[in-house]
């Protein structure tokens, strides 16, 4: 029976997946790449040359960078705490904090409406404090917090694992040599956690760039690129432009993940959920 050479066997095994992938991702994406050419080569650069799209891109970049920074700082703090502090319910807390990893972005948008919407918790609290009903869900603040909520579980998970694997002797040595709190942070924690930071940072940034569900639910006044693409496609049926903007977004996300993998081998498990 088994007369196939190992090489042919491998090819036969890969064939179904290869065919499926070629038909339903590669071919469509190649078509997407070719599409903007119909409206002239300049369409490829629309994201840079047209002020409206450039603004959307820059807003998305700035928001994603800010979210990445905040996520890494907070995630590292929580990870370090959970790795060294033993208290009852620690395992439960960790699994509750990483639970939102499986939430679609729309749920997180809804959470922000519950917190900062017109009937939200913050509005109730600020009214009770005599400050009037305060809402933040539908602007930049709501979007920032929603993206933060979406990214934190991943950061907390990876930093807790990385901090648990840290060698406590290093920090003790540093302290016994008279290192202060900030020196320990600079010379021990940051270098020890660097691989997790690169991997997690790239993932958070790429996910934030492509996040659609959260911004969609919040119908935010602050326009991000995925929403711009969606509007061009659905409301204006401007397919060539939607394709061009998608390519820019896809290339950016992919490039950041690729760069991180070059820098840190840990970045291999590139699992984005649907933000």
């Amino acid at each position: 029976m088994s007369t196939l050479s190992p090489k042919a066997l491998c090819l036969a095994c890969a064939a179904p997946a290869l065919a499926f992938f070629a038909a339903f991702w590669l071919l469509p994406v190649l078509q997407l790449v070719a599409l903007p050419a119909q409206k002239g080569a300049a369409t490829y650069l629309a994201v840079l040359t047209e002020a409206r799209y450039l603004k959307s891109l820059l807003q998305t970049l700035a928001l994603s960078l800010a979210v990445t920074g905040a996520t890494l700082v907070l995630g590292a703090a929580v990870g370090l705490t959970l790795a060294r502090q033993r208290f009852p319910g620690r395992g439960l807390l960790l699994s509750l904090l990483t639970l939102p990893l499986s939430f679609p972005g729309v749920i997180i948008g809804f959470f922000m409406i519950l917190l900062g919407g017109r009937q939200g918790l913050v509005a109730d609290l600020s009214e009770a404090a005599g400050l009037g009903r305060h809402t933040f869900a539908y602007g930049l603040g709501g979007l920032f917090l929603a993206y933060l909520y979406f990214s934190l579980p991943r950061a907390i998970g990876s930093y807790t694992a990385a901090a648990s694997a840290m060698d406590p002797a290093l920090e003790e040595a540093a302290r016994s040599l008279g290192a202060g709190r900030w020196q320990v942070l600079r010379d021990v924690w940051i270098p020890e956690l660097a691989p997790a930071t690169v991997a997690c940072g790239a993932m958070v940034f790429a996910t934030a760039m492509g996040a659609f569900g959260t911004a969609f639910t919040l119908a935010s006044q602050f326009e991000v690129l995925p929403i711009t693409i969606y509007n061009e496609f659905t409301n204006y049926a401007n397919f060539a432009l939607a394709a061009s903007l998608s390519l820019a977004l896809g290339a950016l996300s992919w490039a950041v993940l690729w760069l991180a993998r070059r820098l840190s081998p840990e970045a291999h498990g590139s699992a984005t959920g649907g933000a």
Binding site: P6, W25, P28, V29, A77, R86, F110, P153, G210, S246
Partner: protein, 265 residues
């Protein structure tokens, strides 16, 4: 092992704040789905009427999502297991290239992949209006997770020698693959299945573009209810999502512990 150092007060305070920020919306949402009137809170009494209303209006989306997720897992098994074997055994440059390409749908935002699928196949009405279209999108997005999980398990040295031994005893490829290799990497396969299932149930970015009014999934229904229904219904619906996804996540964690115990990693 020595007991680790305590965390400083600052770190503990930040952790408490982050925990509050993460857990408060979940608690609020669960509560809001179970009280009679959100504005009056617990005083208005607990009820299951919102849950029942969700079931009436959106019950089909729950079943559709579960069915899609199961089909997606099956598709990933059929396509992914042989592919994982090929990638684990082949050292050619083409195999590495394919491995790299296969993960692109994960790195590229779902919106872009969905646009590409619609522009390419949207005119095939039969496909466009069936759940099959969403299923294709979900398989493209989840296949890399299954392949990577199983392929790295298949690369273990002892499995190579095990396969060699089976071959020298005259086992055909089918016997070696189904009878020796797959049982040996079963934990990785189960972990891959649960991951694919979770991703499929929660997928929104692709699905929102690929769905039609007649092919809605749970997250699509959620987005619809958030936009058009009262807070209590949105919350009750969120609760339904949690009830679907939690058992799978617990299974995943339990499995993780089990594997740790058996393989002593």
């Amino acid at each position: 092992m020595r007991a680790p150092r305590q965390a400083s007060a600052l770190l503990r305070a930040v952790t408490a704040l982050v925990a509050l920020f993460m857990l408060a919306p979940m608690a609020l949402s669960v509560l809001a789905g179970l009280v009679n009137n959100y504005n009056r809170g617990l005083q208005s009494g607990l009820t299951t009427r919102w849950l029942l209303e969700v079931w009436d209006g959106y019950g089909d989306t729950v079943l559709a999502s579960l069915g899609l997720a199961v089909a997606c897992v099956l598709g990933c098994l059929l396509l992914g297991l042989p592919c994982a074997y090929a990638l684990a055994r082949s050292r050619s440059r083409w195999a590495r290239l394919f491995e790299e390409l296969l993960t692109l749908p994960v790195a590229v935002p779902g919106l872009a992949s969905a646009l590409a699928l619609i522009l390419c196949y949207g005119s095939l009405q039969g496909l466009r209006q069936s759940y099959g279209f969403i299923l294709i999108g979900h398989i493209v997005f989840t296949l890399p997770f299954m392949v990577r999980n199983v392929s790295s398990a298949l690369q273990r040295d002892e499995l190579r020698s095990l396969e060699e031994a089976a071959r020298s005893l005259g086992a055909s490829f089918g016997q070696r693959f189904l009878g020796v290799l797959l049982p040996a990497v079963l934990p990785a396969i189960v972990a891959g299945c649960l991951m694919v299932f979770t991703l499929s149930v929660g997928e929104f970015n692709l699905t929102w573009m690929l769905h039609t009014p007649l092919t809605r999934t749970l997250p699509v229904g959620l987005a619809d209810s958030y936009a058009s229904m009262r807070l209590e219904i949105g919350s009750a619906y969120t609760l339904v999502f949690l009830l679907v996804i939690l058992p799978v996540l617990w299974g995943l964690q339990g499995l993780g512990h089990l594997i740790e115990k058996h393989h002593g990693t």
